[in-house]
Symmetry: D2
C-alpha cells in the first residue's frame, strides 16, 4: 500500500520557454506524473479504459524556489498527505540533492461520470481506498 512515490526525471527541451527556464505550468505535470505512478505502484490506474470513476482536481498550488533548465535532472517526490471518504490530498517536492526546487499541493475529489457528461461527487471505491494510504508523517 504505497503512500508516496519518487522518481528522477530530466528536463525536456519542449518544457523550457524563451526565458531559458522550465515553464511554470510544467511543474503541475511533473506532480501529476508522480501521482499516476503512485497509483500504478498501488496496482491501479487513475483513468482505466471504461471507468466511471474519476479524480478531477479541486485545487493545486506550487511555490518555486529554484529554476530548472534544459537537461537538468531532478527528483519528483509525491506523498499522500490526507484522505477523506471522497478526496485525496497530495504534497509534492521537486529537488536535486539537497537543493529544493519547488513545493506543490494537489487536492482531488472522487466523482462518478454519468452518460450525459455530468459528474457527481462520490465515495472513493473501497478497492481504491484499500490500496493507497496516507504517508506516516505527512
Amino acid at each position: 500500500m504505497p503512500s508516496e512515490y519518487r522518481f528522477r526525471r530530466r528536463v525536456q527541451f519542449y518544457e523550457t520557454d524563451a526565458a531559458g527556464l522550465v515553464h511554470f505550468s510544467w511543474y503541475f505535470r511533473y506532480m501529476e506524473e508522480a501521482e499516476h505512478a503512485l497509483w500504478r505502484e498501488a496496482g491501479l490506474s487513475i483513468h482505466p479504459p471504461h471507468g466511471e470513476i474519476g479524480f478531477p482536481r479541486v485545487s493545486t498550488s506550487f511555490e518555486f524556489h529554484r529554476a530548472l533548465r534544459f537537461e537538468q535532472e531532478f527528483d519528483v517526490h509525491v506523498r499522500v498527505a490526507a484522505m477523506t471518504k471522497r478526496s485525496i490530498r497530495y504534497t509534492c517536492v521537486l529537488s536535486d540533492g539537497d537543493s529544493k526546487i519547488a513545493t506543490g499541493t494537489l487536492v482531488t475529489v472522487c466523482v462518478r461520470r454519468h452518460a450525459d457528461q455530468a459528474m457527481t461527487v462520490a465515495d472513493i471505491p473501497p478497492e481504491i481506498a484499500a490500496r493507497i494510504q496516507v504517508a506516516p508523517d505527512a
Copy 2:
C-alpha cells in the same frame, strides 16, 4: 460551405522554447486550431459531445521557413485540398504579410468509434460532407 479558414494569432510565451523560438510542435497545433475553426464555420464540431464519428490523423508535415518569436503576430490559413469518401486533406500556410513562415499538410480519416474503443474507417457522414468543400484552386 467553407473550403478554407484564416485567422490571425499571437505567439504565447508558453509556446516558446529555450532557443527563444516557437517550439516546432506548436505549428501542428496552430494548423489544428484553423481546421477546427473551419468546421465551426461550416456549422459543425469535429468532436461533438456524444459523437461516434472521429477524424484521427493519418499523416502530417511542416516545412519551416522563418522563425516565430514571443508576441509575434501571424496568420494561419488552412484550406481543404482534397476530399475522398473517407478522408480530408488540408494544406496550411503560416505567414505575416508577404513573409511566409511555414507550410503544412494534414490528412485525416473518418472513423467510427465503438464501445470497446476500437475504431473502424467509415464514410464521411453526408451531413458533414455536404458542409465542407474542396478549395477551388487547391
Copy 3:
C-alpha cells in the same frame, strides 16, 4: 495605467485530456495569457528581445469550480492585486456569464538576469512600475 485585463477565449482540442476536460495545467497558461496581455495594454512586453529584467514565478495556485470542455467559451479576468518594490501579485477568475469556473493567484518577482544565467532579485524598473497599477478594490 491598466490594473486588470479581461478577454474571451475558446477551449482548443489540444488543451483537453482523455477525461474529456481541459487539463488542469492549462488554467495556468490561460492566466499567463491575460497577464501578458495586461502588460501589452500597458505598452510593455514582459519579455522584450534583449531585456535583462524578468519576472519568474514565486508561487501560483488555482481552485477549480467547474469543468471546461472542448470548444467551450469562457472569460479570463486577471487583476493586479498587489505590488511591492520587487513583486507583483495577480488574481484571476475564469468564468462564463454568472458561472464561475476557476480562481487563481500568481506571484511574480522582478529579477535581473546576468550573463552567467544567474538571476538576482531587483527593484521593478520605474518605467514598468509607472505603467501598471493595483486594481482599486483588489
Copy 4:
C-alpha cells in the same frame, strides 16, 4: 559515435486529448526526446548554456499507423538517416513489439545565432560532426 537511439516510454495523461488518444503534436516531441538523448549519448548537448550554434527544424513529418492511449508503453527509435556539412536528417519509428505505431522524419540545419537574434546557416562544427554518424543501413 552513436547513429541511433532507442528508449521506452509511457504515455502521460497530459499527452492525451478528449478523443482518448495521444494528441498528434506529441509524436514530434517524442521524436525530439530521442534526438536529444542521441546527442547526450554522443557526449553532446543540442542546446548548451552559452552555445552560439543551434539546430532549428527545416521540415518534419509523421505518419500515424496506430493510436496511443493513456499509460500505454512504446518504443521510440531515432536514427541518423543523413548528414551533410550543414544539416542532419533523422528518421523515427514508434512501436510496441511488432506493432508499428508511427513513422517520422526530421531535418535540422546548423545555424549560428547572432547577438541581434538573427540566425545564419553554418557548417556543423567538427567537434559535433565527429561524434554523430549516419546509421549504416539508413
